[in-house]
Amino acid sequence: MGDYTIGIVTLLAINCIAAMGVSLFTGFTGIFTLGHAGYMAIGAYTSTILIIKLGVPWMPAIIAGGLAAMFFAYLIGLPTLKLVGDYYTIASLGLGEAIRLVIENWESVTRGARGYPGIPHYTTAPVAVGFMAVLAVGMFFLINSNYGRAFKACRDDYVAASLLGFNTSRHRVFSLAISGFYCGVSGSLLAGFMSFIQPVMFDMAKSTELVSIVVFGGLGSMSGCLMGTLILTLVTEMFRPISQYRMLIYGLVLVLVMVLRPEGLMGANELGWDSLKRALSRAKALTRDTAARFGLAGVLIGIPVSYCFQPSSVRAISLAEYLSCIPSLMSGAVKFGAPLHKSVAPNAALAVVIACAICASFAWALGGIIKLVKKIDDSRAAGRGM
């Protein structure tokens, strides 16, 4: 694995931790949040200051970052989660920005908008993946326990939940505190990964990114949120060569999932045998659908089409080499931080993906029209028969 891949895996693990925190609070406890980047900022700055100013070793500093964010989340949750409704969501809107602005202006402690350089690079890939694995197991265990059932009960019907003996406001605050801990740890790891933090990294865009990952993966599905992180992070990385325009594709992917599958990738299901079986049977049903068949054919046609009309910057010799470009992007043929727009692989991969997508959508539409015509024909024939 090349440095680039290792970098991606580390970033993926860090994002997963934050996304799990948001998933617990938004997906399982049912309260929208638009300020969780603020808790990441608290975690990041707490651990950075502990390490640089007080010389604390990085491991306890990461935990301390998580605990600081957790404590802060608890304080915020006490007044805003007492009532049922969107109070927390509204508060979180301002909260995330408020945390960022405090950090930006409290120069004596946080060095303000210039950011904090020189953080030791303690977040190696094994550290990040290790943290993610431990926290993921803990989270899966938690939602499969009486706490998980309590959170879900508060989400689905708080009146019924309180009449089953749950102190719903306490459960909401508790959920927020745990979610704050996850985001805090994620922020601390991010600080150690980037070696440099500045308030802008934890702005509104980061908060909305976290929520969109959770909605994309499916509210109420922890494995969905991990898959959402994986897909959305990879999509943005894969299209790095087209720099700013990749956010268009990021948006397109989000819109597509919300239109085709409003409940998110996984809905409220967890990845397991049952959901796999269900997906398989649905895929089988799809192969009998004319429009879907045309779409699949379009994907296959897209590969040679993109090869024939490949951009001039791609100088692939054979089709096989051309196709091998996609994995090479992931396997480290392209170095992290290298001037990517000059390299062959990402451009070829991009060309293949775009051509496949265009061909598939045209073919899908064509199949849909054919299906419609057939249906009209059938209904006419049926009309004559009568």
């Binding site: 059932r149 879900k152 749950f166 102190n167």
Partner: protein
């Protein structure tokens, strides 16, 4: 017999609307009492007051001699009061079993660290919760539907599930809000048997809101009738059946 639940001059108003006015009645320990009245009489409001969903405007409510006026809903549960809902409040997307387990865990606790590690008491406690819930589902005849999402059950079975869920809290006073609503005659009669049976087996005190008069008259020991938020008659079913005030409330004034 001691009073299990006692209301003394309870009032509740929403703005200018008096939903309950000066309501006084009591339910004796071990009794199966009925609460009847025309639509909008304030029966469900009484349940909401007792369980702390609403705060009372005036008067006293006592449960086994202790005042419960100011208790929150989850504190009411701790005293041993459970209820079902007129317009079902099941967790529709969760399985039938999970619905009951969510309530049954009330009496089975383990710590947060046992929950995130699945060590210690987790395994044994989860098994106990599951077994207990399955037992209750068998009681109400839903054991073979345990894995199904609760929202996909037929209406009558959803009502039974609500009863099972309330029972898993191990209450001593059970408030049933129209358990037979939307059921046909056959379903009502099996529900009758179920209610009488759980009343005996779990040594419960039951207060029942119902519109099926034949059901109320057959199984209730005593009936409380209210109209426009106020008590109009109280007594054994036979007396209530012919009570002029009750007939007036249901059928209107005779010319």
């Amino acid at each position: 017999m001691d009073a299990c639940l006692e209301l003394k001059g309870v009032n509740k108003s929403f703005g200018g609307i008096h939903a309950v006015r000066d309501m006084s009645f009591s339910v004796a320990e071990g009794e199966l009492a009925g609460l009847i009245g025309p639509n909008g009489a304030g029966k469900t409001t009484i349940f909401n007051l007792v369980t702390g969903v609403y705060d009372v405007t005036g008067g006293e409510m006592e449960y086994k001699g202790a005042n419960i006026n100011r208790l929150k809903t989850y504190q009411v549960v701790a005293l041993g009061i459970a209820r079902t809902f007129q317009n079902l409040r099941l967790f529709a997307a969760s399985s039938v079993l999970e619905n009951v387990m969510t309530a049954a865990q009330y009496h089975h606790r383990y710590s947060f660290f046992e929950a995130v590690s699945h060590l210690g008491r987790w395994r044994g406690t989860e098994r106990a919760i599951r077994d207990e819930s399955m037992g209750l589902l068998e009681r109400v005849g839903l054991a073979d539907r345990a894995g199904q999402p609760a929202g996909t059950l037929p209406y009558g079975l959803q009502r039974r599930l609500e009863i099972a869920r309330a029972l898993s809290l191990k209450p001593s006073l059970l408030l049933l809000d129209e358990p037979a609503a939307g059921m046909n005659a056959e379903e009502v009669s099996t529900l009758n048997d179920l209610i009488v049976k759980i009343h005996e087996d779990f040594k419960l005190t039951i207060l029942l809101i119902e519109h099926h008069m034949d059901m109320v008259m057959r199984i209730c020991h005593r009936v409380v009738c209210m109209n426009f938020g106020a008590l109009i008659a109280e007594g054994p079913p036979r007396d209530i059946q012919g009570h002029p005030e009750v007939l007036k409330a249901y059928l209107g004034e005779e010319e």
